[in-house]
Amino acid sequence: MKFDMDYIAHHNELTETNPYFKLFLTIILLILTLALDNLYFDISIFVVMSIVILTIAKISWRSYLKFLSIPMAFVVITCLFLIFFFGKGEVIYETGIFGIVVTTDSLHYGVYTFFRVVGCLPLLGFLALTTPIAKILHCLATFKVPKIFIEIALLMYNSIFIFLNEIDTMQKAQETRLGYHSYWNSFKSLGALASTIFLRSLDKSETLQHSLDSRGYSGELPIYEPRKRE
C-alpha cells in the first residue's frame, strides 16, 4: 500500500470539520505540550490524539504508523546523539569508546526531548492527516500571513505531487531495465534520476509560467472565496 497523505486528508471523517477549530486546537495543544514539558502530559497527549486520529477520524492504523515512522526514526537518532554526545554533569554510564559517556544531564535531555516530540507528532498528524492543505492555507490567509508565503506554499505543494508522480514513473522505467539490480547500479540510476528531475523541473516551471500568464497572472495569486452552501 502506498501512503498518500493528501488522499487521507481529503478522505477521512474529520475532513469537513471546521479547519479553524482544528488549527487552533493543534496550536494550543502544541504550545501546552512544549511549555509544560511534562512526561505524563506528553504521553497522555500522544494517547489521546492517537485515539482521535484512529477512531474519530477513522484513519487506518497502517497509514498512521507510516506517518509516525519517518519522523520517529529521526527522533530516535537525534535523541541517541543527545544522550551520548551532549550535556555535562555526573557520569552514569561509560561506553569505554573514545571516552563517550552518558551523563545525568544528557539522559534528562534525551528522554525529555524524545517524549516532547512523541507528544507533538500526533498533534501535527491530527492537523496534517485530517485537513486538506487548501483549507489550512485559507486559514493562514485570513490571519494575514504574508501572501508571498502562502503562494510559495501553494505552488510548492502542487509541484510536489507532480514530481512524486514523475519520480515514480521514472523509477519504474529504470527498474524495468534493471536499474536497481545491483548496488552500484542503484547509485548510478539514482544519480540519473536526480539530474533528470532537476532538468525537468526547470522545464515544468517554464510551462507553468506560460499557463499562468495565459490566464492573466499578474505576479500575485488571487484568493477565491467559494460561495457558502447550506
Binding site: 493528501d6 488522499y7 481529503h10 486538506p132 492543505i133 487548501a134 492555507l137 501553494l154 505552488l155 505543494y157 502542487n158 505531487f161 507532480i162 508522480n165 515544468k204 510551462t207 507553468l208 506560460h210 499557463s211 499562468l212 500568464d213 495565459s214 490566464r215 492573466g216 497572472y217 499578474s218 495569486l221 488571487p222 484568493i223 477565491y224 472565496e225 467559494p226 460561495r227
Partner: protein, 277 residues
C-alpha cells in the same frame, strides 16, 4: 477574428521554430491545425495570446494588433484562451474551484461574478460536484475538463486547444469532441492542434497543415486529404474510412474522386454504391 501575419520565431540562433506563418481564422469557425510532432504547433499557439513575442510578424485579434504591454496582454488573454496539452501544466490550485476561479479573478471581476462563472463553467464541462476535489485526484479526462473550464470561465472569444484528445480514452475523446462542438455552436471560435486525422473531418471546416515551421496547405478537410504529397510531407495519413474506400477503388469501384472522410459520409457512399451495383 484572428489573424497571424508572417510570424517568425527562433528559440536560439540555430533553431528557427516558425519560419513565417500566416493564417486567418474567422469568427465562429472551428479549425484544425495539423502537423507532426515538433512542427511548431505549440510554438505558434503560444504566440496567439502573447506568451511568446515573435521575432518578426504580427498577431491581430478582431483587427487589433497584439501589443506586449501589461494592460493589452490582459485584454488579449481574456479574448484568446489556451488550453494546454498537459492539464498538469495548467492546473495548479489545490482545489478544482480555485483553479477555475484563477482566470476570472485575474480579470478583476467581483467575487460574486467569479462564483457564478465558476459554477457555470464547471456545469458546462460536466464537472459540477467536483468543486472541492483536489485536481491530482482526478482522472486524465476529468483534469482536461477542469482545464477547459478554467479557460471557459474567462469567457474567451477564441479558444485554442493544444492536442486536446491526447491521452484520453475513446469515450473521453467522444465527449470532448461533443463539448467542443457545442461551444462552437454557442459562438466560440475554436482552434485545435492535432494529428488524429480520423477526428478532424468530424468537426473542422477548415484545416491548416504546418510542417517544420511553415504552413504548407490550407483548405477544407476534403481538399487537404485529397493531396497525398501534402500528407506525406506532414507525416499524416488519410482517415481510416477514406483508406477503406481508396482500397475499394483499387478493386474496381468508381469513386468519382469523392472519398468519404467520416463514418456518416461512408455510410451514405456505401448505400449509394450498393444501389448502383
Amino acid at each position: 477574428m484572428l489573424e497571424v501575419k508572417n510570424i517568425k520565431y527562433s528559440y536560439n540562433s540555430d533553431y528557427q521554430a516558425l519560419k513565417g506563418v500566416s493564417l486567418k481564422v474567422e469568427k465562429g469557425e472551428m479549425v484544425a491545425l495539423l502537423g507532426k510532432n515538433g512542427a511548431g504547433k505549440s510554438t505558434l499557439f503560444l504566440h496567439l495570446n502573447g506568451i511568446y513575442e515573435p521575432d518578426e510578424g504580427q498577431v491581430f485579434i478582431d483587427g487589433e494588433e497584439l501589443k506586449y504591454d501589461k494592460k493589452s496582454l490582459l485584454k488579449f488573454r481574456q479574448k484568446v484562451g489556451i488550453v494546454f496539452q498537459n492539464p498538469d501544466d495548467q492546473i495548479f490550485a489545490p482545489t478544482v474551484e480555485e483553479d477555475v476561479a484563477f482566470g476570472p479573478l485575474n480579470l478583476g471581476l467581483s467575487m460574486e461574478e467569479v462564483q457564478d462563472r465558476v459554477e457555470e463553467a464547471l456545469a458546462r464541462v460536466g464537472m459540477s460536484g467536483f468543486e472541492k476535489k483536489a485536481p491530482h485526484h482526478l482522472s486524465g479526462g476529468q483534469k482536461k475538463r477542469v482545464a477547459i473550464a478554467g479557460i471557459l470561465a474567462m469567457k474567451p472569444e477564441i479558444m485554442v486547444l493544444d492536442e486536446p484528445t491526447a491521452g484520453l480514452d475513446p469515450q473521453g475523446v467522444t465527449n470532448l469532441t461533443k463539448l467542443l462542438r457545442e461551444l462552437n455552436d454557442e459562438g466560440i471560435t475554436i482552434i485545435i492542434s492535432t494529428h488524429e486525422v480520423d477526428l478532424v473531418p468530424n468537426y473542422a471546416k477548415r484545416v491548416f497543415v504546418l510542417v517544420d515551421g511553415l504552413l504548407i496547405a490550407e483548405g477544407s478537410p476534403k481538399e487537404i486529404f485529397a493531396q497525398p504529397d501534402i500528407l506525406k510531407q506532414a507525416n499524416l495519413k488519410v482517415p481510416i474510412v477514406t483508406e477503406l474506400f481508396q482500397k475499394l477503388e483499387a478493386e474496381g469501384f468508381d469513386m468519382e474522386n469523392d472519398y468519404p472522410l467520416t463514418i456518416d459520409e461512408a455510410k451514405d457512399k456505401f448505400l449509394e454504391l450498393i444501389d448502383k451495383n
